[in-house]
């Protein structure tokens, strides 16, 4: 009889685990609040929540250094919070207020922070992929060692411009990490209804790009993979592909009834794979924190999120003169 596998004791510090816990919880609570504000009519248009996928951005941000860039699609709130943007400014952009990152002119899908090297927030599926390679091109041209994290989904992975970008990125050895957030559904179309490919990261091989699949629900695995990818890019041997196997608990957008999958499937992921629960268990089992400690963190996070919601409600709508500003530099 085979010996029972001992529980893994990951090589991670208490502080880092607590950091992951806080960051992921912030995203989840923020998104839950955004959902509420949407229901109240305070957020309009499209609103794509990141709930379930938190480990991807939090793990990868742990592998980044100052100067690294990130760019993503319209499911972007998590990325912004993870790279240190102010929850108040993000939430106020969702409500279309003057206090938002784009002064209310971008909305949920189009937000930017030059200060935090967050380059959007792009509403056209896969358009951010060549843009991300271009950011990396600029860094290489300027001769620094920055890396660009270019995020896109399994749906975007079927757009032609992704492969045009792969081709050039490898041809010119651009320092870009292509992060495929494979949450298994492109809006309502499951991956198996969209492609015969078994994996998405292996498509890079056609262009000579290496990569790997990663358990995107495990923040430690994500961080480790991110560090490897970043090191490859900083060494001038980029690009690299990380296919993050993840899952979104909520619909594609707020108006998605999600009839394309069963409640049981979602519940099973929540019960068995939840990224926040995973870290919570590591903290408790490792003796790094008590239930009481974690409750205090929960309370802090709730306060931060509530404060952002209050700010987003109270911030005034943009001045009418804003209609005509920022068309030209």
């Amino acid at each position: 009889m085979a010996a029972k596998k001992p529980p893994e004791t990951p090589n991670v510090s208490k502080d880092e685990l607590l950091h992951f816990y806080r960051e992921m919880l912030l995203i989840r609570r923020f998104e839950e609040k955004a959902g509420q504000l949407y229901g109240m009519g305070l957020i309009g248009g499209f609103c794509h929540l990141y709930i379930g996928q938190e480990a991807v951005v939090v793990g990868l941000e742990a592998a980044a250094k100052e100067g690294d860039k990130r760019i993503t699609s319209y499911r972007d709130h998590g990325h912004m919070l993870a790279c240190g943007m102010d929850p108040k400014g993000v939430m106020a952009e969702l409500t279309g207020r003057a206090g938002g990152y784009s002064r209310g002119k971008g909305g949920s899908m189009h937000m930017f922070s030059k200060e935090k090297h967050f380059y959007g927030g792009h509403g056209i599926v896969a358009a951010q992929v060549p843009l991300g390679a271009g950011l990396a091109f600029a860094d290489k041209y300027l001769g620094n060692d920055n890396v660009t994290f270019t995020y896109f989904g399994d749906g975007a992975a079927n757009q032609g411009q992704v492969y045009e970008t792969y081709n050039m990125a490898e041809l010119w050895n651009l320092p870009v990490v292509f992060v495929i957030e494979n949450n298994q559904y492109a809006m309502g179309t499951s991956m198996k209804r969209a492609t015969r490919s078994r994996t998405l990261w292996e498509r890079g091989a056609a262009y000579g790009i290496k990569g790997e699949a990663v358990d995107g629900m495990d923040v430690l695995a994500v961080k480790a993979a991110g560090e490897k990818a970043v090191a490859i890019c900083r060494a001038g041997e980029g690009p690299y592909i990380l296919e993050m196997m993840t899952y979104r608990y909520r619909g594609h957008s707020m108006s998605d009834p999600a009839k394309y999958r069963t409640r049981e499937e979602v519940q099973k992921m929540r019960d068995e794979k939840d990224a926040i629960e995973h870290v919570r268990e590591l903290l408790l089992q490792g003796g790094h924190a008590t239930d009481e400690d974690l409750k205090l963190i929960d309370r802090d996070i709730k306060a931060v999120v509530n404060e952002s919601a209050e700010f987003a409600k109270e911030s005034p709508e943009p001045d009418l003169s804003e209609l005509w500003t920022d068309v030209y530099a």
Binding site: A127, L135, Y141
Partner: protein
């Protein structure tokens, strides 16, 4: 029996060339496929070869002769075993030998007609007394690129065949040698991808100049131009800029059919966030391209293949730019205002010349940039002449001329003595047949007719 070897057309727009070198001499036996001569156009040297076996009779054009018109007999050739005939047959009498052209599949080459006459400068773009030199639009564009690349090392040129091939239309000739492969970057054929990549590089702090081999191919990339380049400054509340120039030949060349003959002036001029330039003269091409490269906004820079080879006077100045949004009055007049831009200026100026002989005095305005548009110059002129005709190569629906008509109607209605007429390309895809193509394009005769109509003549 002897046949004539005729000067070949080596591109859709070539009308004449230089017979640079004979590689055979009189009396030589040649085989089919053997290279007979090198022919120089203003952008490339092409080899050309015999289509049949035979013996070279007389060489009718000496090597080094420039300005040899297409279809001019350049040599005589006798069939195998035959003798070359002594006197040359009159041109056009003998059947021309079919000749195959070897060498790179060429982008079209424009001929070099005489320089366009200096305008009656009602709007001087450079100080009086500034020396000028005659140069082609192609040379002017190249000079603008090189000067801006010298002065700002964040400016780089990217596109298909811009480097080692020296440019499909030779705009970038010599730039790879001067600036190296880091700054003159050949791309794969991947417009959607490289456009997005260049826009990203502009977000990242560089100043890309992106060449579309022709603007027809920009449609592969139009999402990145409009959704990413034009809108991001606004969507970011002013945080992000996109200092990029998209440039290349636009509009019809000659005989390249529907998919390669389209004018995008009105398309791009519709988009807030973009700037759009469409120069006619070499001076404007140079001054506007330099201004475009320095502009912090995305600029669509619409060149024209037929204009590339035309010569104009360009001021010799250390740093010559033309501001956007400033039209140029090429010719002052009192009876009618003709407004055009880009190659449309050719028809506008020719029409004005012809109308002058009929006693009609036309004021001719070159808009030069279509976003922003210099409305004031147009309106001031219409208030003087009370009549207006617009000229452009693009289609009639949603044309720049439509917009000008509406603007003039709104802002100068009481000054109008006649409806504004729009001369445009016809509302059809570009046909290939030579006669139909001519019919599809706007012509000088149509402009003359429109002017006479608004002048009730």
């Amino acid at each position: 029996m002897a046949t004539q070897v005729l000067m070949p057309a080596l591109s859709p727009t070539m009308e004449e060339g230089t017979l640079a070198r004979w590689l055979v001499k009189e009396g030589d036996s040649v085989k089919s496929g053997q290279i007979l001569a090198e022919i120089e156009t203003d952008k490339a040297t092409m080899e050309f070869e015999a289509a049949d076996d035979g013996v070279i009779g007389r060489l009718l054009v000496a090597e080094g002769t420039a300005g040899v018109k297409v279809n001019t007999p350049i040599a005589e050739m006798a069939g195998e075993g035959g003798a070359a005939s002594a006197p040359p047959a009159p041109a056009g009498a003998a059947a021309g030998t079919t000749l195959a052209v070897s060498g790179p599949l060429s982008g079209p080459v424009a001929a070099v007609p005489a320089p366009v006459k200096a305008p009656q400068a009602a709007f001087p773009d450079w100080p009086a007394g500034t020396p000028t030199k005659t140069m082609t639009v192609r040379e002017a564009l190249r000079e603008a690129l090189a000067e801006e690349m010298r002065s700002n090392d964040r400016v780089f040129l990217m596109g298909e065949e811009v480097g080692e091939y020296q440019g499909a239309y030779k705009i970038s000739q010599g730039l790879l040698d001067e600036f190296g492969p880091k700054r003159v970057i050949d791309t794969p054929i991947t417009e959607h991808g490289f456009t997005g990549l260049a826009v990203g590089a502009a977000f990242g702090g560089l100043n890309p100049v992106l060449e579309f081999m022709t603007f027809n191919f920009s449609m592969q990339a139009i999402d990145q131009i409009i959704n990413s380049a034009a809108k991001t400054l606004y969507m970011s509340g002013g945080q992000m800029g996109c200092p990029i120039v998209f440039r290349g030949p636009n509009g019809a060349a000659a005989r390249v059919g529907a998919q390669h003959s389209q004018d995008y002036a009105a398309w791009y001029a519709q988009i807030p966030g973009l700037k759009v330039a469409m120069p006619y003269s070499a001076a404007d091409a140079k001054g506007l391209l330099k201004a475009a490269i320095r502009d912090p906004n995305p600029v669509i820079f619409l060149e024209n293949e037929i204009l590339y080879g035309r010569s104009f006077e360009v001021p010799v100045l250390a740093d010559f730019t033309i501001p956007f949004g400033k039209a140029r009055v090429w010719r002052e007049g009192t009876d009618v205002t003709i407004v055009s831009f880009g190659i449309g200026m050719t028809y506008a100026l020719e029409a004005a010349e012809q109308l002058a002989k009929d006693g009609l005095s036309a004021e001719v305005i070159d808009l030069r940039t279509l976003r922003p548009i210099d409305y004031d110059t147009v309106l001031a002129s219409v208030q003087k002449t009370n009549r207006c005709v617009t000229v452009e190569e693009g289609w009639p629906v949603g044309a720049i001329g439509n917009h000008l008509s509406a603007t003039i109607m709104t802002r100068a209605f009481d000054y109008l003595d006649a409806p504004v007429l729009n001369c445009t390309g016809k509302d059809v895809p570009m046909p290939y047949a030579a006669n139909l193509e001519k019919l599809a394009l706007v012509t000088t005769a149509e402009v003359v007719e429109a002017v006479k109509s608004v002048c009730y003549r």
